[in-house]
């Protein structure tokens, strides 16, 4: 979406909350082991879901006033932000309130509260709806709650771009930080399971039975919904180094394109990838790994076709990551979760396997059955949305 931010923008903190792990290192280890959080949901006829443990308690992660009222997606997002800020060691001394910005990716994170509020009105009448819920029923409410919780006064932007939300949000945050509109910015993507939305997905035939859930495989039968959140702290690299922060990665390029029709999707994703790589000053051959948005759904083919075309002769040797095979489709959190998985693989030099992928369709990409070596510093992260959005992100891990 944006030319390589100048000055360079770095990721200095990571926060993650998924059914598999609540630390980036633990998530990386779980993915390397090929673990999956997908389990059958009785209420959906055995369709696969990836959901947080029943005893998940957001108050364990974030001591925030009013947390109880927030939607589940908002709670997950707030927890991920807390973890990312702690990881970055970004306190008020390093970044005063007026210099902290937020960008939140949430498309459906308010719907649970909107239902709750609206049903209180339907049941009790318009004069008796719960007024405390109404402001939390807006699509902007996860972003508002994040800004309020962490007293982030520089700016708070909020994108609802479906499957490309968190990559778009990361691009927007990087641009705002590069332009000096904040000293630091937390970008968070969050999604929670919501019974009504899951029921609609099931009726639409989008969900695979848990035991049949596979991404990119010839036998794929649909997707699995998941919940979770991921957050990153962005700072201008030079200032981050000056305060002694650890640079996890440089945001080297980000771009978003749109496919007016399903047949245009591979082309649009390839354009987004091309633009993000050009911003980063890289050729496709320099990409060490691709962390893809493959979800078992309708977008898998287009994404694979785009990557085959983009990578050309290096397609067969550039390891492909598919975190949704383990975590399900987490929509607004997905792109950032993929980015975190990519960073872990670059840092460790090991790409995790893609669980249950045996017969790639189309073939030709490097889809490890066991952990595979990764050599290089640059990762490409890709995402597509059923609405037609196609996004790409290039991350570079600094040497040393």
């Amino acid at each position: 979406m944006t030319p390589a931010p100048s000055p360079a923008v770095a990721i200095t903190g990571l926060g993650v909350l998924t059914p598999l792990a609540d630390r980036p290192e633990a998530l990386a280890a779980a993915l390397l082991e090929g673990r999956s959080a997908i389990a059958p949901a009785a209420e959906l006829g055995g369709a696969g879901l990836s959901r947080m443990a029943d005893d998940f308690d957001p108050a364990r992660y974030a001591n925030i006033r009013g947390l109880r009222l927030y939607s589940r997606a908002t709670k997950l997002g707030i927890c991920a932000v807390r973890l990312a800020l702690d990881d970055a060691k970004l306190d008020a001394a390093a970044c005063p309130s007026e210099q902290l910005g937020t960008v939140t990716a949430s498309t459906l994170g308010h719907v649970e509260t909107l239902f709750e509020y609206d049903r209180s009105v339907v049941a009790a009448g318009p004069l008796r709806g719960n007024p405390a819920l109404m402001p939390l029923a807006l699509p902007s409410s996860p972003g508002a709650a994040v800004a309020l919780s962490f007293v982030a006064k520089a700016f708070s932007m909020s994108l609802s771009d479906a499957g490309t939300s968190s990559l778009d949000a990361l691009g927007l945050g990087a641009r705002l930080v590069a332009a000096g509109r904040a000293r630091a910015c937390v970008v968070v993507g969050t999604a929670a399971l919501c019974a009504d939305l899951s029921a609609a997905a099931s009726k639409a035939g989008l969900l695979a039975p848990a035991e049949a859930f596979r991404v990119l495989d010839r036998r794929r039968r649909g997707t699995a919904l998941g919940e979770g959140a991921a957050a990153v702290v962005l700072e201008r690299a030079e200032e981050a180094l000056a305060r002694g922060a650890r640079l996890r990665a440089i945001v080297a390029g980000q771009a978003t394109a749109f496919a007016p029709g399903p047949a245009d999707r591979a082309g649009a994703l390839r354009r987004a990838c091309g633009q993000a790589l050009a911003d980063a000053g890289l050729t496709p051959g320099e990409v060490a790994l691709v962390s893809a948005g493959l979800s078992g759904g309708e977008g898998d083919r287009a994404e694979a076709v785009a990557l085959l075309g983009l990578l050309g002769e290096s397609a067969g040797r550039t390891p492909l990551l598919a975190p949704k095979a383990s975590l399900g489709e987490t929509l607004d959190a997905a792109g950032l979760l993929q980015a975190l998985a990519a960073l872990a693989a670059l840092s460790s030099g090991k790409a995790p396997p893609i669980p249950r992928l045996e017969d790639p369709d189309p073939p030709g990409l490097c889809t490890p059955r066991t952990a595979a070596p990764v050599a290089g510093a640059h990762a490409l992260v890709t995402a597509t949305a059923h609405t037609g959005g196609c996004a790409a992100l290039v991350l570079t891990v600094p040497h040393g």
């Binding site: 459906l108 902007s140 609609a200 639409a204 978003t256 949305a385 037609g388």
Partner: protein, 406 residues
């Protein structure tokens, strides 16, 4: 951020009219468009007031959307405004240019009515009312995506939701994309319609006016809602010149801030507004004394209008009294996410016509709101630079800067 950004087309659908001429002349005359609602009702709430859009035959939906039983009013408004903006800009039709053009739409409530309509069906018929298409319809990105699909656009397609500053947030985001060269043009703005959540919620929060919206008036008692869509074509100025496009005004930049104060209430001294304005001036390099008009957020709530007035005084000092500052919400009501986009169009027209629109219904001045709010009717004025202020629940502040076409 090296490219300059021109506004080469605007499209509006509003209670003041669906073409720019009627819209502008209605605003300048100070005609209040708020009246009893005919097209929207809310069981248990009688006598709802608001400003409604009358869609014209040329605003008809494409057949494949019109035949959808769940078709969305918000989408309809956005499509109508987009079609008008794209036509006014004469946006190039070749595939290569459309591939480098995107959409940035802001909406406060977006597809809320898909949820409340489903709730009504669930109450009437039981759990089977959840249908296969609901997930796709509840996805607000579909609004922006449909605009792009209908116009064959292949650039970035984004949906901003920062409550009632959504239109300005979408415009600011679009500005950055064009200024940075990531897109050659962006069709950007906002759209919203009436929703049950907004009417009942504002009523319960004590923020819904018992009558009509009276920004800055001593008797102001809250918001009156409206529906609208406003879309602008933001385009690389050099490209616009090369193709001989109409250049209405320039978007010079923007400022952003968050109150981080309360989930609904604005910071009482307008500190967030002030920080957004200061950043807008600092990042654009425009001197304070070149700002002639401030398009106020001006919702007609006691707190907003006072905080906004204090913020303008804090930023401009004595210069605040030389500014014209008005709220067209006095005529159109608060159109939520559309409001700041429609107000951006009013700013562009103020720059074109060298005139400022008024604040209607301002009859008994509030001693604490003592700036020049252009009461009653509009007037001719020198207008070099406009600040378009907006704020939203959750403290989202955005200030867009527009200046005369170069």
């Amino acid at each position: 951020m090296s490219r300059r950004v021109a506004i080469t087309g605007c499209g509006v659908v509003s209670a003041a009219g669906n073409d720019l001429e009627r819209f502008w002349s209605g605003l300048m005359a100070g005609t209040c468009r708020i009246g009893p609602l005919r097209g929207f009702s809310c069981t248990g709430m009688e006598g709802l007031l608001g400003s409604e859009v009358e869609l014209l035959p040329e605003d008809a939906l494409p057949p494949e959307i019109d035949s959808d039983p769940y078709r969305s009013r918000c989408l309809h408004l956005a499509l109508a405004a987009t079609r008008r903006a794209v036509a006014a800009a004469g946006l190039p039709a070749d595939a290569a240019a459309r591939e480098r053009t995107g959409v940035s739409l802001g909406s406060t409530m977006a597809e809320e009515r898909q949820v409340s309509d489903l709730d009504d069906r669930l109450a009437a018929t039981g759990p089977d009312a959840i249908d296969a298409g609901f997930l796709a319809r509840a996805d607000n990105h579909r609004l922006a995506a449909t605009l792009a699909r209908i116009h064959g656009l292949g650039g970035p397609v984004l949906l901003s939701s920062t409550a009632c500053s959504s239109g300005n947030a979408a415009l600011a985001t679009a500005y950055d994309l064009v200024a940075s060269g990531a897109a050659e043009a962006m069709v950007a703005g906002g759209a919203d319609t009436f929703t049950r959540a907004v009417f009942t919620g504002f009523l319960r929060l004590g923020a819904l006016s018992k009558g009509i919206c009276r920004p800055f008036d001593k008797r102001r008692d809250g918001v009156t809602f409206g529906e609208a869509a406003g879309m602008l074509v933001l385009e690389d100025l050099e490209r616009a010149r090369r193709r001989g496009a109409p250049i209405l005004a320039e978007v010079a930049g923007y400022g952003v801030s968050n109150d981080a104060y309360h989930i609904t209430a604005p910071e009482p001294n307008g500190d967030g507004f002030a920080r957004a304005m200061r950043q807008a001036l600092a990042t654009t390099g425009i001197p304070q004394d070149e700002v002639d008009y401030v398009s106020a957020h001006g919702t007609g709530t006691p707190y907003n209008d006072l905080g906004e007035t204090r913020a303008v005084k804090a930023v401009f000092g004595e210069g605040a009294r030389a500014l014209a500052m008005s709220s067209i919400k006095s005529m159109l009501g608060h159109t939520n996410g559309a409001a700041s986009a429609v107000e951006a169009i009013a700013c562009a027209l103020a720059l074109v016509h060298q005139a400022v629109p008024p604040t209607a219904n301002l009859e008994e001045p509030d001693p604490e709101c003592d700036l020049d709010y252009v009461p009653g009717v509009g007037r001719s004025a020198r207008v070099r630079t406009c600040l378009n202020l907006s704020a939203g629940f959750g403290g989202f502040n955005v200030c867009l800067v527009l200046r005369r076409a170069p």
